[in-house]
Symmetry: C2
Subunit: 438 residues, 2 copies
């Protein structure tokens, strides 16, 4: 007797700790995307996965099935290694705006698809769009054409890529099934694979301002991503990087663009530069461009200091319709009318600076969205004047709030005031790069 | 700041092993019934409950919230104790058809709301309707009026009672969340409470043909039901009864009515009679009618043997429009044209007789539904000629199949052939009443 596949049988098998075959997973995902398996069955399945996990083979099959749900970017006719990067999200994480032109300067192709601000973390697309004129909603042929012409692209994720992820993520978000390793892996990897790169570096953020709070969790995610990604035929590696305090001194869209420009001009904050170089070096290694990480970093430092990366950034902005004058003279980038300083209430050393609160404050001030579809204020955000280890006097300003939504100022103020912990002794600085998975 | 309740927060709390307040559970269930919490969030919540369970306080709140979702039957103006019974479902379980008139004969009020055949188990409503003319779709006022007039009713569950259970059960059925103790308890108890009785006995079936396969699981369910039920202000007790082989010799609608008539006339199979008397005795104890179970059983035996219960059954059938002539002369009950005997393939003792296979075979032959909404054949089913412990000769008929759906005969035959295990030694008979929870 022929028994048709039934979603309830697959849910029960997963619930009871069993394994699904690749065919079963493909069936489930394709039927879900086709509207044949309803949301409520998928929700029950996702919760069962939350509790029972997935084997590596299941996670590979899930990723593959999600990838197959939509279109993907074919960069194969462009010569050279195509690289990509993904960050699990942090505060002040402007790395993409620096890394893309840096990779272009190194002769690699990087067509980066990015997202918008979510929760307390910013989004590269919102940041890039804060440069007047920049257009990020490119069609897939436009992405490919620009990658061919100048080697670099920063474009908004389109609905044509991995529709399964759009549907699944929307469902996970409201059913308490976001924090599941195999589901996170499927979501991240299917999107990266659809992006068409050969070599991909993952920045798994770890700490107060990150999705993964502990190094153990971050390491587990990095290992799953690299193992599953490599099984899918691409070269992956992951760095675990600290996200206890924000990267750099800025949280907000135009504010972070300014910071990125500093690094692209050979300056800028040490931590942001260090993380960018480490991720870039991984990509040069994966691409086979350099024999070791030391040599790769040296090359990238030269490309920053020589202005080569900065030139690629100018070309990138120009190609996507942006006003190059606004990045050459960042005072022409959007600015809020109101700027409020937060003074230190006591003298001492900054011992902690909670990234999550800084991100939430920036979001409230206008850098993020409180409800889906809301616009962001490109100028709004938080400018940090003191970070962990800095000594401050009482009354000295700790941060400047660039106020886009005045009605949210009191709450943002409270968040920044409590984000800082000031004590009498200087803190022990921790490492920025916590781990590496290859 | 006022934070409105959000389903996703409750799902996450349950997922993480936390406890929900009665207010939160009431909100979740009422919003779900109102269509404000969608199926996919409820499905995720149910799967989280599957894994994390519920505390007794949560189960009480769930039952209460489900009860409050609809109407209930108010029997309070009828004098005397109102009793009720629930079975978790078995094969050949005709107890309700006997117990209702027996309780009526004992002077108690029993307005029993029942369901239809489901899976391998039969349904009292389908059985009762196999008596020509019987009408079971009574309105709530009709139920109350008949209970007042003759003390006994057997009616179909109406949609007005516990709509939350109808919605939740439909969802659980397709999301792999049926086998969860608190969800089972909420479903059973909310319906019993809506039925308006003061004292309720639960028959928790245990074994191959039951929902609960092991005595441990059955005991746990019985304890949960009684503890939670008593907290909700009614008198509950539970018996754990064996369901490895079917009760009695019949599985099928009119076939089981015949068997019930035998018991009501002081005859009939020993096991069916014993379980009915034990459940009835519990009700007399709960109602305070008798001081101990022995005395209660003696009273009930007298009511069977004297014909008093049989008289109430006749009144019950008449009140609901049935042809009394058909129960007085059971050869007038529906009969199939085709009857097929299954011979023993070897001589020996019947060592096992799998209730589940008998139930499935009866269903295939027409006593049950293969898809929702399908009609049943009142005459179809399985008549057992040998049960566990009986000695049989090779070729001697083990069972008669009353064939309603001829196309399903080969499959039903195979089921019955494999349902019997015949061996050389007589088996050790096990007890029928395995446990008692008061």
């Amino acid at each position: 007797m022929f028994l048709p596949m039934r979603a309830v049988d697959l849910i029960e098998r997963k619930r009871d700790g069993g394994e699904l075959s690749p065919e079963e997973i493909r069936w489930l995902i394709s039927q879900y995307v086709a509207g044949q398996v309803p949301d409520y069955q998928m929700a029950a399945f996702l919760m069962a996965v939350y509790f029972q996990g997935m084997t590596e083979a299941e996670t590979v099959a899930l990723t593959q099935a999600m990838l197959e749900s939509g279109d993907w970017i074919d960069l194969s006719e462009i010569p050279g290694t195509k690289v990509d990067k993904h960050s699990t999200g942090g505060v002040g994480d402007t790395v993409t705006l620096i890394l893309v032109p840096l990779m272009g300067a190194a002769g690699l192709v990087m067509a980066k698809l990015s997202g918008r601000a979510l929760g307390h973390t910013g989004g590269t697309i919102d940041k890039f769009e804060s440069i007047p004129g920049v257009r990020t909603e490119l069609s897939l042929p436009e992405v490919i054409r620009q990658a061919k012409e100048i080697g670099v692209v920063i474009a908004d994720h389109t609905a044509e890529l991995v529709p399964a992820d759009r549907l699944l993520y929307g469902l996970r978000d409201v059913t308490g099934t976001v924090p599941s390793l195999p589901l996170i892996a499927g979501s991240i990897l299917s999107k990266k694979l659809a992006g068409g790169a050969d070599a991909i570096v993952l920045d798994v953020k770890c700490g107060d301002g990150a999705f993964m709070r502990t190094q153990e969790d971050a390491q587990a995610l990095g290992e799953t991503l690299v193992r599953v990604g490599n099984q899918l035929g691409k070269r992956f590696s992951a760095l675990i990087t600290a996200m206890d305090q924000p990267l750099g001194y800025m949280a907000g869209n135009a504010l972070e663009v300014r910071q990125a420009i500093q690094v692209l001009q050979g300056e800028g904050p040490h931590d942001l530069r260090e993380v960018t170089l480490a991720l870039g070096a991984e990509l040069l290694l994966l691409a086979g461009e350099e024999p070791d990480a030391g040599k790769a970093e040296e090359k990238l430092v030269r490309l920053l200091d020589s202005g080569a990366a900065w030139e690629v950034f100018r070309a990138l902005v120009r190609a996507q319709g942006g006003e190059v004058g606004a990045i050459e003279d960042p005072s022409r980038l959007p600015q809020t009318r109101e700027v409020v300083e937060i003074p230190a209430l006591a003298p001492g050393y900054v011992q902690r600076l909670e990234a999550r609160k800084v991100g939430l404050a920036a979001g409230l001030l206008g850098a993020g969205r409180e409800v889906k579809g809301q616009g962001v204020d490109p100028a709004a955000g938080v400018e940090l004047l003191a970070k962990v280890g800095d000594q401050v006097e009482q009354g000295q300003p700790l941060a400047r709030l660039h106020v886009g939504r005045a009605e949210r100022l009191p709450e943002a103020k409270r968040l920044i005031e409590t984000a800082y912990t000031i004590g009498e002794t200087p803190p022990q600085p921790g490492p920025l790069i916590l781990g590496r998975v290859r």
